[in-house]
Symmetry: C2
Subunit: 339 residues, 2 copies
DNA sequence: CACCCTCATGAAAACGTTGCCATAACCCGG
DNA sequence: CCGGGTTATGGCAACGTTTTCATGAGGGTG
């Protein structure tokens, strides 16, 4: 149990060979006699020695590390995404650095504030909605980058088709026979979200296709926004019979308002979310699954492929999946919220 | 816009000084004339140069990186914890490596499989419930370690008092006048959890204190377990009037069963969770907040302090907080689930 | 004016690896 | 038995920093 960690020299000494040979063995490089190889391996094990990525990176130029940049770490979505990325990187024996840039973002310098320059082999951004200029700045770091949750032409991206997702969701409600279908979206000043815009567009397109006029209500993100928006909708002179929310958290907020108002779901109002949040299952909320774990896994593997120079598809569109639960149903034939 | 990232030599050349001087400037080391300092700083900025942690770590022995080891990344709890740790490390300009060891854990070698040895300054484990032996193996890595969500004497730990938490929760229900208070716990074969045991003990202690006999039901973790357990409780010849769940997810599962059975909360049965999960707010679930973000922040700062040799308290107990919402109330005076 | 101190600066030796080149040992065919 | 090729091994110079030590320029004091 050495208080100073063993170095390659120690291993070499113990195995009675030179540094070069030890290096070759530990890198699985050819040109070492099997017997010697075994001896070195044993010596390394006995000293529980592992190669310093620091030192090897210095000469190879590879750090064995991939940086993942996320706006936030708390929302459910990012945990799932990170989990996928982590698993993919582990397969390739790469370590994962995580940078949460949250509030820093508004300040101009977050991209350069991150010590990425010589310290990472690749950068994966998750739902960062980077502007063209931010992309360029990040590219300046000089390592490959993969964008998850954002589609940028000319740059490797893994994303879902938000428009198709909400369009499908909307059609589900229309197919049930609803005609008064409202949409609760979000807008935050701190964070401009492309996916937010796309989801609204998908809804609008499906409504237009059915010859109906869209009915969007936009509030601050989070469940509070959903609560307020639903309150507003309930106070309309003729409330909607179905409501689609931009994401599950909003839908859950809306659900709370309905519960308090004594409006039954789906009897009086059908409610739908988007994301397939953990809590959606337990709340029996019909939603659209976007499998962030799978996206993360894909993004991670894509990164590995690019690093190995074996990347083929640089744009990957992940499928979304309608999850039918108990919160949507055909509209009642009688009018009014309370039968 | 150099395709090869700039090195310190380039900066030195551009500023017309030696390597040593550049190094001193960028480390904020004393002994540089203000005018020169400024000149070097500018040169570095223009080349958008950042120090290679790889190279500096090689000589200082510090990597500027802290490893965080978690069993899983997906559950809500870990995102919040990581967020706090990340913020704390960022304050000290340390990078965060994340290792998700999930299933690997059962295999003996996860601790040594981690290439931590020379590649990290400290290790933070989150809810890993390490055995004494695993602790020792991890300590072999030769860097300070901080345990979050686990109390181990002689080792830096940040944790909550699970026993006190459930005891307080139980007393809340007892104070409302309930006498038939059941507890839904979890047990998984893959994962032995100390906190799980402690929470049960807290409940039992509070019940004993009130002279009541405990009524625990143990199922698999997750909301499915909650659903099943609640079904079981409802089929008792005299169902409980209040139920405490080991964590919110279980409580939410139980809530679903109640909803389906048409049993009203809190009118007929009071329901309580533990954790203050995102979804608990939206479901109006009374619960116990354990602020994983704050724990993460504390653990992160403790790590930084230890690294700076300034650690004072190596054991930090984080407070828990009862969050009163709408799912608990005094028991009805009339008997039966349906008034 | 000589002396010693302080302060700013530069030169050079680490740090722990990998890559390249040299060397030694061996095998094979002529 | 000798030349040429292959294969295993060692030596040494990088890689980009920090750190230690040396040097030299001023500046105050006696």
């Amino acid at each position: 149990m050495p208080s100073q960690p063993a170095s390659m020299r120690d291993v070499a000494h113990r195995a009675g060979v030179s540094l070069s040979t030890v290096s070759r063995v530990l890198r699985d490089a050819p040109g070492v006699a099997p017997e010697v190889r075994q001896r070195v391996q044993r010596a390394a094990d006995e000293l529980s020695y592992v190669v310093s990525r620091n030192a090897s990176g210095l000469v190879t130029g590879r750090t064995g590390r991939v940086s993942v940049v996320v706006p936030f770490l708390r929302p459910w979505f990012f945990g799932a995404a990170l989990s996928g990325i982590s698993d993919a990187l582990r397969e390739a024996d790469l370590d994962m650095l995580v940078y949460q840039v949250g509030e820093t973002r508004s300040r101009e310098g977050w991209a350069r504030a991150l010590p990425l320059r010589r310290n990472t082999d690749a950068v994966v951004t998750v739902s960062m909605d980077l502007s063209e200029e931010e992309c360029r700045r990040l590219e300046d770091v000089g390592v490959p980058m993969v964008l998850m949750g954002q589609k940028v032409s000319g740059r490797a991206s893994v994303y879902i088709d938000d428009r198709a997702g909400t369009a499908g969701a909307t059609r589900h409600l229309l197919n049930l026979g609803h005609t008064r279908v409202a949409y609760i979206g979000s807008r935050s000043e701190a964070w401009y979200s492309t996916s937010s815009r796309h989801r609204l567009e998908g809804y609008e397109a499906a409504m237009a296709e059915a010859g109906l006029s869209p009915w969007p209500v936009v509030k601050a993100p989070g469940h509070t926004g959903g609560e307020l928006a639903m309150g507003e909708l309930l106070s309309d002179h003729e409330p909607p019979t179905a409501v689609l929310a931009e994401f599950d958290d909003i839908a859950l907020g809306a659900h709370r308002t309905l519960r308090r108002a004594g409006v039954r779901v789906p009897d009086s109002i059908s409610l739908m979310g988007f994301d397939n949040h953990d809590a959606a299952a337990v709340m029996d909320l019909t939603t659209v699954d976007q499998a962030p774990y799978d996206s993360g896994l894909t993004a991670g593997r894509l990164t590995v492929d690019i690093l190995n120079g074996a990347a083929r598809h640089t744009h990957v569109e992940m499928p979304t999946q309608l999850i039918l639960r108990q919160s949507t149903a055909a509209p009642r034939t009688t009018r009014g919220l309370f039968p």
